[in-house]
């Protein structure tokens, strides 16, 4: 057991690859789910609103780790065989859809109700008003918090190790288990995370500034 080698670094990069794949899955699937949750949360139907709210509360109220575990092994228990990637993607989708749904609902709500009224007063349907008038405006406000959430999501993919994913954090743990040099190994892992997340953070903030400037 000697020092940190290039092979170790490749192993970490490989882990980073999985981290990115999982994050993209979570983002894409979560965006679809989150859109549905957002629609549910602003729906005119009370039962739909309540269902969406209950979903959000449930998912936001339990750790992702436990959700992963219950989905991966839980589906196994009831006899549904899912590959780890599917289970992890499913759990991340549930998780991110709850958060994205809430973020987007906030953005839609922050578009003044009068915009809805103006559209409806011209005879447009609710759906047309949403698509043509509300969403394009909400999308602008929603970009910074969505990117901000994505940064957190990338780091949370580390929890997928419980279902056997060798993503970046787990790869670092495995290496540390043979090298016992936590500062070095985790330091490098932290740098890799930083290299991915920081540009996103910067981008998110420049977007925020641009949008704020537009509003003043």
């Amino acid at each position: 057991m000697d020092g940190f080698t290039f092979a170790h670094f490749q192993y970490l990069l490989n882990g980073l690859g999985w981290t990115i794949v999982l994050s993209l899955c979570a983002l894409v699937l979560g965006a679809i789910g989150g859109f549905a949750i957002m629609l549910g949360r602003i729906s005119g139907r009370r039962w739909l609103r309540n269902c969406a709210l209950a979903y959000v509360q449930l998912v936001q109220g339990t750790p992702l780790l436990i959700q992963m575990f219950l989905i991966y092994f839980g589906l196994g228990v009831i006899g549904v065989e899912v590959p780890a990637l599917v289970a992890a993607a499913l759990a991340m989708m549930l998780y991110s859809s709850a958060f994205l749904g809430e973020i987007w609902r906030g953005c839609v709500n922050s578009i003044a109700r009068t915009q809805f009224e103006a559209a409806e007063a011209m005879g447009m349907t609710r759906w047309q008003s949403l698509l043509d008038v509300i969403l394009p405006q909400a999308a602008r406000i929603a970009t910074p918090p969505t990117v901000g959430f994505l940064v957190q999501l990338i780091k949370n993919t580390s929890l997928a190790s419980v279902v056997g994913f060798l993503e970046l954090t787990r790869a670092a743990q495995v290496i540390n288990n043979s090298l016992f040099q936590p500062f070095l190994v985790f330091g490098i892992a932290a740098c890799l995370y930083f290299a991915v997340c920081y540009p996103l953070s910067v981008w998110s903030r420049s977007l925020e500034r641009k949008l704020n400037a537009g509003r003043r």
Partner: protein, 242 residues
């Protein structure tokens, strides 16, 4: 000929607060009616009930022969008859002036793009904004925005227009321009209900004045009631007019 707008004993409550307490009035086709009254007397609420942005608790509202208070009313059809210009314009900030005007033409009336664009240009020219077609709302002054809002409603060729304080915060010159547009419309036979707090404007624009007081129609008549009010409330309201 049926009334263009008819309210019968309309009651509107927000929770415990009764905002309209049994309002009745008729507006004939082609009439221009000014709705005046103190702040909080229910003028905006009355307009909003007329095009069913609010539901009423009692009474009836009829617009161009349609029963507005009917639960099963076809809202889209109603709103093609009734245009509304909001106090705060409510333009869509992410669309150009042209797109603002075209939107409902294309989505509601399903008019093809080139034709809709042509209509948009025409009504914008009518309100003196032909050259602002490609500007965004925030690039316009207040008065220009207000006129875009008017054009946006006009493009749909409604039979009734509801104006909510369209000249607040405009300087005299811009107020004059809006007034001119409305006079054109009146000549074209459009029915209009105008909420305003500028008495000079009411006097000039309206055939008839309705004075609201604490959720009721308190006095109404032609513009002469503004110089010769019958009730002490209207007299008190006007007293401070400069």
């Amino acid at each position: 000929m049926p009334a263009a707008v008819k309210l019968e004993n309309v009651v509107k409550r927000y929770g415990a607060l009764e905002v309209l307490k049994g309002v009745s009035f008729d507006i004939q086709p082609g009439e221009v009616v000014a709705l005046i009254g103190a702040s909080g007397s229910g003028k905006s609420t009355a307009l909003r009930c007329i095009n069913r942005l609010e539901r009423i608790q009692q009474g009836r509202i009829e617009v161009c022969g349609r029963e507005v208070s009917d639960e099963a009313i076809d809202l889209r059809a109603l709103r093609q008859e009734v245009g509304m210009v909001f106090q705060s314009y409510n333009l869509f900030p992410h669309m150009t002036v042209g797109q603002n005007v075209m939107l409902a033409l294309r989505r509601v009336k399903k008019i093809a793009r080139p034709e809709a664009a042509e209509i948009a240009r025409r009504v914008l020219t009518q309100v003196g904004l032909g050259e602002k077609y490609d500007s965004y709302p925030e690039q316009l002054s207040g008065g220009q925005q207000q006129r875009v809002a008017i054009a946006r409603s006009l493009a749909m060729q409604p039979r009734v227009m509801l104006f909510d304080e369209v000249t607040s915060a405009l300087d005299p010159k811009l107020t004059g321009e809006v007034l001119r547009v409305m006079e054109d419309l009146a000549r074209g036979g459009m029915t209009m209900v105008v909420v305003t707090h500028e008495m000079a404007f009411a006097r000039r624009a309206a055939n008839r004045v309705i004075f609201m007081h604490q959720g009721n129609v308190h006095e109404s008549g032609d513009a002469s009631i503004l110089s010769d009010p019958a009730t002490p409330e209207l007299r008190d309201f006007l007293e401070h007019d400069l």
